[in-house]
């Protein structure tokens, strides 16, 4: 009998079924969406199920969007900040109310691999940066004070279907007729992930 680091007990006196089991497994140890994981999987399928399950969690999606703002604003990686998020049009929008400076940093956005939205007039003049093209493209939208004086904060979301993906226009835009869900708060840090 032997116990591994995950607490699993191996009995090397193999039973009848054991002879057909693979002697290999998959081990994951590291951070996903800011949170540490240490898991063992007996098959790649098990790993894929687990991995996609984590990616689909609301806190993971909120974290990805939070990360766009946090990196752009140069937030302390270890500092936990309270954010607001809202599910609307198939994505989680995130904004950080307590930020002293709500303006997007273009140099930082470019350095992180973002490309500038060419048609800012469609955003009422607010510049925005995409981080990706077809799948899971981050979209960071600058704060804006419109000509009539109304304003919105810097915000971000992850488009599952990016701007060069037809489903962005066939699915995501039409889904905007469904009203937004109530916004909710969460605590996020770059190194610690997000918690509702």
């Amino acid at each position: 009998m032997k116990e591994d680091e995950f607490g699993r007990i191996f009995d090397h006196g193999c039973d009848e079924e054991c002879q057909y089991a693979s002697q290999f497994g998959w081990r994951f140890k590291g951070n996903l969406y800011g949170k540490p994981y240490s898991e063992f999987f007996s098959s790649l399928s098990d790993y894929a199920d687990w991995r996609t399950g984590i990616a689909a969690l609301p806190e993971s999606q909120v974290y990805s969007a939070f990360l766009l703002i946090a990196k752009n604003q140069g937030l302390d990686p270890n500092k936990t900040v309270q954010i607001m998020s809202q599910y609307y049009a198939m994505v989680y929008s995130v904004w950080i109310p307590g930020l002293a400076d709500q303006s997007l940093n273009p140099a930082s956005a470019k350095a992180d691999g973002g490309w500038s939205d060419p048609l800012t007039n469609l955003h009422a003049g607010a510049g925005s940066y995409y981080f990706g093209f077809v799948f899971d493209a981050g979209h960071l939208v600058d704060s804006i004070v419109k000509s009539d004086g109304s304003e919105d904060p810097i915000n971000a979301h992850i488009d599952g279907a990016g701007p060069l993906n037809p489903f962005h226009y066939l699915l995501q835009l039409p889904s905007m007729i469904i009203p937004p869900s109530p916004s909710q708060q969460a605590s996020c840090s770059i190194n610690g992930g997000c918690t509702f």
């Binding site: 049009a89 929008s93 925005s128 979209h139 939208v141 109304s150 919105d152 904060p153 701007p163 708060q185």
Partner: protein, 181 residues
């Protein structure tokens, strides 16, 4: 909640005694009276402190449509407070049919509060930070910042504990345009 316990401190007994013939004379002694008065005074004085630690103050934020002065219903609203280290904290609520979102502020009352809206729902047409005490004492009607002021009909005076702010809904077309690169 607290427990006031009577204990026997004499060296002969380590157990508590219910008032008996033996304990009654001790209670009449000046030392016991002094202890009793001190304990009573301490608990009486500490009661309001304990109560105030657990107390909270209600603050209402009323969101008014910039076009017609009517209440904006169903708007997600966040209320931001800051501590002395600059760390911010959030409370969230949704406006009711009167456009009011009610927040419970814990004691000590923060010096200032901030208002945050979802960028998917409304454009802010007022300032987004306010001093707390004037709101609680007499109420504040926020200054209207959007240019179409002539269309606004809002003459109601402020109420104590209420902050009136102005906003306008983000249209579906505006939301769709944001997603076009």
């Amino acid at each position: 909640m607290y427990i006031l316990e009577l204990i026997d401190v004499s060296p002969r007994s380590a157990t508590s005694k219910v008032a008996t013939e033996n304990t009654r004379p001790a209670l009449k002694s000046p030392a016991w009276l002094v202890v009793f008065v001190v304990v009573l005074a301490a608990t009486t004085i500490s009661l309001p402190c304990i109560a105030s630690d657990q107390a909270e103050t209600t603050l209402t934020v009323r969101v008014i449509d910039n076009k017609d002065g009517k209440a904006l219903k169903g708007v997600s609203l966040g209320l931001v407070t800051w501590d002395e280290k600059g760390q911010h904290f959030l409370l969230s609520a949704i406006t009711d049919a009167e456009g009011a979102a009610i927040f419970h502020l814990s004691i000590p009352i923060p010096e200032r509060i901030g208002i945050t809206y979802s960028p998917n729902e409304v454009w802010a047409c007022s300032d987004i930070a306010f001093p707390t005490i004037p709101i609680l004492k007499s109420g504040i009607v926020a200054q209207y910042k959007c240019n179409d002021r002539r269309r606004l009909k809002w003459t109601a005076p402020p109420k104590a504990g209420e902050l009136v702010v102005f906003a306008k809904r983000v249209s579906l077309w505006e939301r769709m345009r944001r997603e076009l690169p």
